[in-house]
């Protein structure tokens, strides 16, 4: 299909979104990610039955924490995409990229840069 999606996106592979943990999501932001989205299989089509449903709940919980600490829960999203649906994958990547570009950088990025420089 030779579809393209924004090069700002880094893919971290997991065996199933059920493996996603709240701390993985927080650590990404703690290390300076501007946004994170979890791409799981379509609901009802999880090979492990409920992996993607559990992931959604964890994402919701992590969003609340991000709101509490002032990073902003809107920087984190959960999507469900069929493994075979390349066009939708690229579309979501663009959608998320645009959303995060509009939100601007992770509010702790400046502090992280200073820390690195020190």
């Amino acid at each position: 299909m030779r579809l393209s999606y924004p090069d700002s996106i880094r893919i971290i592979r997991l065996p199933c979104t059920g493996k996603v943990d709240v701390i993985y999501l927080l650590r990404a932001f703690q290390k300076g990610a501007d946004g994170v989205y979890v791409a799981g299989c379509l609901e009802g089509e999880c090979h492990y039955l409920t992996g993607n449903l559990r992931a959604r709940k964890k994402v919701e919980y992590a969003k609340k924490i991000l709101d509490e600490v002032g990073i902003g829960g809107e920087r984190l999203e959960m999507y469900n995409i069929a493994a075979s649906d390349g066009p939708r994958f690229a579309e979501i990547a663009r959608e998320m990229h645009e959303k995060i570009m509009a939100l601007g950088p992770n509010p702790i990025k400046g502090a992280l840069r200073e820390k690195k420089a020190a």
Binding site: I23, F29, G70, I71, I108
Partner: protein, 222 residues
């Protein structure tokens, strides 16, 4: 188990705002099982606090530790080697653990990271409910294994009040009437005669009404 829930991050931030180096201490027992203060929650809180302060342009050094228990001195000793290298401790143990830690290390402020709620059960994943109030004189033998002290809003001892409607309590339509549960279960067990036996006026001195409690077993003392 003792059931607890994490305090709002803002409240915890308020505790540690003036410090530079803190310890977040989890507990491997009850609060781990109810997802409030185990190793995972320590990691989450450390990450959240670190981000929140970084956003304010402040750096907070955080050491993460999770003890086997915070209600036993032997495990609290594990902190001895390094605790005073830090400015404060946030304990994610129940109120018991927080206090015992504070009692063992007098020269460092200890703050609670959770609100301790009750002694209860895991009804299903993510749902906990109260089962015991530690009244000091268990009457479960007469009440079909269902406790009217912890599960009846009025702590009645001899049957339901007038607020029991269709098996539910008047304080909350979703709450089962403890006495309805007791009677139903006595019936099932063929022991409804137990219901005829009056439970005498309870001596509340073994409960909190008698002040802080203590148990001493001389056979175990060294």
């Amino acid at each position: 188990m003792i059931v607890a829930e994490r305090k709002p991050i803002e409240e915890i931030m308020g505790f540690v705002r003036d410090f530079k180096k803190i310890i977040i201490a989890g507990c491997n027992e009850c609060v781990t099982v109810c997802y409030a203060g185990g190793k995972k929650e320590v990691e989450i809180l450390a990450s959240a606090l670190s981000m929140a302060f970084m956003k304010e342009g402040k750096e907070l050094e955080i050491k993460e530790v999770t003890l086997e228990r915070q209600c036993d001195p032997e495990y609290l000793e594990e902190l001895r080697g390094f605790i005073y290298d830090y400015d404060a401790v946030v304990s994610l143990a129940c109120g018991v653990g927080v206090q015992f830690l504070a009692e063992k290390y007098l020269k460092i402020p200890v703050f609670p990271g959770v609100n301790t709620l009750f002694m209860g059960v895991t009804e299903e994943k993510g749902v906990w409910s109260e089962r015991c109030q530690g009244c000091g004189q268990c009457i479960l033998g007469q009440t079909a294994g269902i406790c009217p002290i912890s599960r009846c809003a009025k702590r009645l001892l001899n049957g339901p009040c007038g607020g029991s409607t269709k098996g539910k309590c008047e304080i909350n339509p979703e709450l089962d009437c403890a006495w309805q549960l007791i009677i139903d279960r006595l019936k099932e067990l063929g022991r409804l005669d137990d219901y005829d036996t009056l439970i005498p006026i309870k001596d509340w001195s073994t409960e909190r009404a008698g002040g802080p409690r203590k148990l001493v077993r001389e056979d175990l003392q060294q």
